[in-house]
């Protein structure tokens, strides 16, 4: 086939494909990388008109407005922390799903570690001072045999 004919076929094929509408899907967001930052930040912020959902998960109007705000500010070059400050200035700490570390939330953040520590200390001390019952006297060989018979094979039950 000559060059011209080949090119014509190629153009025709392209035209057919385009007419058939075989396009590639376009991301909704103009800038997917920015969008992903918006969503990450949105997951940290609370939708104030919802029953306990994050901005990222919510479609409520206020949530959409606030996400738009976040997007604009991130696009304008503000940092994540600045956006968070923007939100808390207007809505207070309630809007944050990750409670800030303050005097009033020290117990919240330290609590779990404290619980583990206290529990382990209590356990250690109580293990140390167990009186326990005195060991039962050793069985004679005959008694042991009889016990084994009565119990069936104890090794079946042991260990679980």
């Amino acid at each position: 086939m000559t060059h011209c004919a080949a090119r014509l076929v190629a153009i025709l094929l392209l035209a057919v494909c385009t007419l058939a509408g075989a396009g590639v899907a376009v991301p909704v967001a103009a800038d997917p990388a920015l969008e992903s930052r918006v969503n990450t930040l949105g997951a940290e912020l609370r939708c104030l008109v919802c029953q306990n959902q994050s901005l990222a998960d919510s479609h409520a109007e206020l949530a959409v407005d606030l996400k738009n705000q976040i997007r604009e500010q991130l696009r304008a070059g503000r940092s994540e922390q600045q956006v968070i400050d923007y939100m808390t200035e207007r809505y207070g700490d309630f809007v944050l799903y990750r409670p800030p570390l303050k005097a009033s939330t020290v117990l919240l953040w330290a609590g779990p570690a404290l619980l583990v520590l206290l529990g382990l200390i209590a356990l250690w001390r109580s293990l140390g001072r167990r009186p326990g019952t005195p060991e039962p006297p050793a069985l004679s060989a005959a008694d042991e045999q009889r016990a084994l018979e009565l119990l069936g094979d104890p090794r079946r039950d042991a260990g679980a």
Binding site: L48, V49, D65, R90, Y91
Partner: protein, 175 residues
Amino acid sequence: MSPRLLVPLCAFILLGALLGAGLRLKPREIPSPLIGKAAPAFSLPLLSESQRALASADLKGKVWLLNVWASWCTPCREEHPFLVALAREQIVPIYGLNYKDDPRAAQEWIQRLGNPYAESVLDRDGKVGIDYGVYGVPETFVIDRSGVIRFKHVGPLTREVWTRDLLPIVQQLRS
């Protein structure tokens, strides 16, 4: 009886007290962090004449109320008769922030139900609302002569709430 054995019971009693107290709280009401801070500045077109604008700076020197409302908001309709009555008492000027609304619908609403507002400004995209920490309409702010927010009420304003919460503050600010 070892005192240690009482620990679970005591812990439970504390928990029960906490839960009992919790029954009286309103978990969905968000306190405003703007109280005691300068009211966010705005300059927005008037509802009555979109060519002219009103800026928050223009209102310095007076004690005023900012009422956030919209024609699509059902609780706003509930509080509206009280606002109209309050405006007639001429205690304090009420300025309206028309939030995310269609100006035509808003005007028609005002014409039909009465206008308690000295002026209403249009916040079409809700940005000023966000600046004020608005999360649900209606909301009412008390702002003093130097432009500092002194009080915020979320939800419809009623005679009760006015007399109990806002009026004392307004009176104190004007004295």
